[in-house]
């Protein structure tokens, strides 16, 4: 819309710049980290999978196999993200024996965003919030009965979420 007919491109760039700057400053706030003993095991973290740049490589590193699309994977993601820093994404599936769910953002610097282990008795459903650097296809992956199934949706991002 034509709020700024005089210099739209320049304006966008400048405002973007200032938004990124503020986000960067905001990071300094820091979280209150305690050193309380925890049982979460860092060794469980699949370092290699989180380094991959493509859907196929990430899935291979994480699960050792490739995936096929399925209409039994339900991916709920906004069409336009209100801010790339916080994009709510929910995944659910009616497939049987689900053991894992993963979320990939294909245009992010590293493709794999998050992976969840679903033990028996836990529903095949998860909601979380992700950062997206720019407009991208988001892929929901569900591991069911030893096979991988996906659903894909494009999410438009005009303010990138790399700022945090």
């Amino acid at each position: 819309m034509g709020l700024l007919p005089e210099a739209p491109d320049e304006t966008r760039r400048i405002i973007l710049k200032s938004a990124v700057g503020l986000a960067a400053l905001g990071l300094g706030a820091g979280a209150a980290l305690t050193s309380a003993h925890a049982t979460a095991d860092a060794k469980a973290w699949p370092q290699d999978a989180f380094k991959q740049k493509s859907e196929a490589d990430a899935l291979k590193a994480l699960y050792g196999k490739s995936a096929e699309p399925s209409d039994k994977v339900n991916l709920d993601a906004p069409e336009i993200a209100e801010n790339g820093a916080v994009v709510p994404i929910a995944i659910a599936s009616t497939l049987p024996n689900v053991t894992g769910i993963a979320i990939l953002v294909l245009e992010n610097p590293n493709t794999l965003a998050a992976a969840y282990k679903i033990p028996e008795g836990t529903e095949a459903s998860v909601a979380s919030r992700l950062k997206m650097a720019k407009t991208s296809k988001v892929v929901a992956v569900v591991e069911s009965g030893g096979k991988l199934y996906t659903a894909t949706k494009e999410v438009k991002v005009t303010v990138g979420g790399c700022g945090g």
Partner: protein, 103 residues
């Protein structure tokens, strides 16, 4: 110091819905600070939810998970008053844990 973990676990019927929010910067490693220096990645790697001696949910998170991360899931079992233990560890080895009561 206040816990970094907030949990809301509500039992309904034969299952329990869990929502959790953790205070953490989740620095991606791709952002520069005000002086133009890259802020090194600092993010939670693993979160575990434990009920009655059993891990009911595990999150494996990369730097693309939002600051102050949120997650919601549902597991079978759990009743009002049960303990639910949440623990996390990040890539710098910092960690926190909390035992919450299921409501």
């Amino acid at each position: 110091m206040a816990s970094t973990i907030r949990v809301r676990a509500i039992a309904s019927g034969d299952s329990t819905q869990v929502q959790s929010l953790i205070s953490h910067p989740m620095d991606s490693g791709f952002v520069k600070d005000s002086k133009g220096q890259l802020i090194p990645p600092h993010h939670i790697e693993v979160v575990e939810f434990e009920h009655a001696g059993k891990i009911v949910f595990t999150c494996l998170w990369g730097p693309a998970v939002s600051k102050d991360p949120y997650v919601k899931f549902t597991f079978k079992g759990g009743k009002k008053g049960d303990d639910l233990k949440v623990s996390w560890v990040d890539n710098k080895g910092q960690s926190d844990s909390l035992v919450a009561k299921i409501q």
